[in-house]
Amino acid sequence: MVRPLGFLVGLGFITALVLAIFTTPLSNEHNATHDFHKHPKKLALASDGLVPHWDKQQLQRGMQVYKEVCSACHSLNFVAFRNIQDLGYTEGQVKTFAKGFQVPSINPDTGEPATRDGLSSDHFPAPYANEVAARAANNNALPPDLSLITKAREGGKNYVYSLLTGYQNPPQNLPKELAPSTGLHYNPYFANLNLAMAKPLSDGQVTYADGTKASVDQMAKDVTAFLVWTAEPKLVTRVQVGWAAFFFLLIFTVLTYLSYRNIWADKKH
């Protein structure tokens, strides 16, 4: 009974699929965006690969770029000031750095909303009070939070670096419907080619404390490195612990293999 019924059911599915094959067009609609969209450029960082480390100089430069450029529109909600000790700052430096920010607070006498100096335990304050304020200030576009940005985009750090350095004039042969409309800017690394964010970096925009020349490429690399750290501050620890676990298990596996061979030595199988 099972086999004839199964045969009928199978025949039903197969017929539906065969009809589906014959009714589905074999060619795809041409998507002009694909022709102009570019794959991200590769960015090599010290935190890559199987023996990563943080290039603290670079992360400090990257944080400077974030603070002086990106933070005008983008929040960094998941990062606390205390976390930047990872970048090589002392506890004292962190306190001073935090003090430079005003964070939302409550007036202890009146209960009215107020602000106070930042503490190490505070997170980076957001540039806008809420999404409505952010959109109102940005032509109805919402600048995303940057804490996780290198994990939250296909292509990760390569994408962020490419986008920051990818602003250019639209190519001559760009179809009219793909040309940037008012308030949008052409960037072939962005999924639909035009984004609301204007070219954020220009040469010499920041003055690096360590004397590094602040070219657009340099600043893009540095801030991307910083954002790799903000997305996963535990990245380096993770890989280091991974090697310890791996070698421990390797020894475990060799020992279990030897005991397996030993136990089976007299048994044919």
Binding site: G6, L17, L249
Partner: protein
Amino acid sequence: MSFPWAKQYQPQHPLMQWIDEKLPMPRLVYNAIGAGYPVPRNLNYFWNFGVLAGAALAIQIITGIVLAMHYAANAGVAFNSVEHIMRDVNAGWFIRYAHMNGASMFFIVVYLHIFRGLYYGSYKAPREMVWLLGVVIFLLMMATAFMGYVLPWGQMSFWGAQVITGFFSAIPVVGEPVREWLLGGFVPDNATLNRFFSLHYLLPFVILGVVILHIWALHIPGSSNPTGIEVKDEQDTVPFHPYYTAKDGFGLGIFLLIFVALTFFSPNMLGHADNYIPANSLSTPAHIVPEWYFLPFYAILKAFTFNFLWIDAKLWGVIAMFASIALLFFLPWLDSSPIKSSTYRPMYRIFFWILVFDVLLLGWCGMQPAEQPWVILSQLGAIYYFAHFLVIIPIVSRIERPLPMPNSITEAVLAKHATDTSSASATA
């Protein structure tokens, strides 16, 4: 039940004797996975995956319980609480990544376990119940994994929940009310997240219960083996402990090495970038793709693009997707060949490997956008999938002429060693 030559539990220590009289739990373990369980001597490495699936379940339960201590199942803070685990909880990143990749490892070993069963005919009499319970476990795993993926409340969590609960709305008349009842609203929201968390915590223990039944049902006939010939006498078997505990220990070592490499060196490889964006009901991701372990079924769902008879394409897809798993329940009766092992089934073996390729192809297609050639490839893949189980297997099991088989497991083992030694001496 066991074979008459199975070793009996004889506690030496007075304490163990005392326990054995009051509650013979050690005896149960001894007979289940100790020296009291005789197992065919010829099992190959593909027989490791049952134990590995058990280990994966244990890892998921342990890491999951710890995660639940720090996670907050509330749509307003769920995403932030996961980041809190990643950043502020001691070793939280490890627990979370282990749980996330543990799900993938669980599915990898379970898929290998299922394909082992398909190749060696483990679903056939007298082990049909073991297979049926196995399919139940597989279904429970899929439900658990789906609900777990919703919990971080990222974009893919939200839209995955939207798409998968949307399957129910394909059912005529009652579909939409059922979907709303399941979600607790019109779209996934706080009510959905809370109930999914509750069920995600419950189902692993249900799985554990069915695993116990699965092992119980296995111990009635005893383990199968690569020849498919049933155990005849004592020399066909070895005690589970120490022989297979040692072998499984080695298998566990390899499993953990791969697990560790994935978790520590490339923890996001099998995930989606979109799930690091907080859930947003107003912004649909360009590509909604389920986790890799659902991809073959997702491809089957998307393969149906034609309204055939009075059923529309979407409903066909949903029915076919559920049928693609449900048909596994009938496999022991679809395949009427008395020969279990593919080693002696020359025709079935060929179709088995086509099925392996087919499922991989479907998985690949499931990942792609709804464009050609992926649509036609998933349609062809789905045709083969259903044809394989519902048409080819019943026919092949009728017309196939099996290869000559040895009389017993021991004979097969000794014959293998004879050829090994002669070929070894020939080369020497």
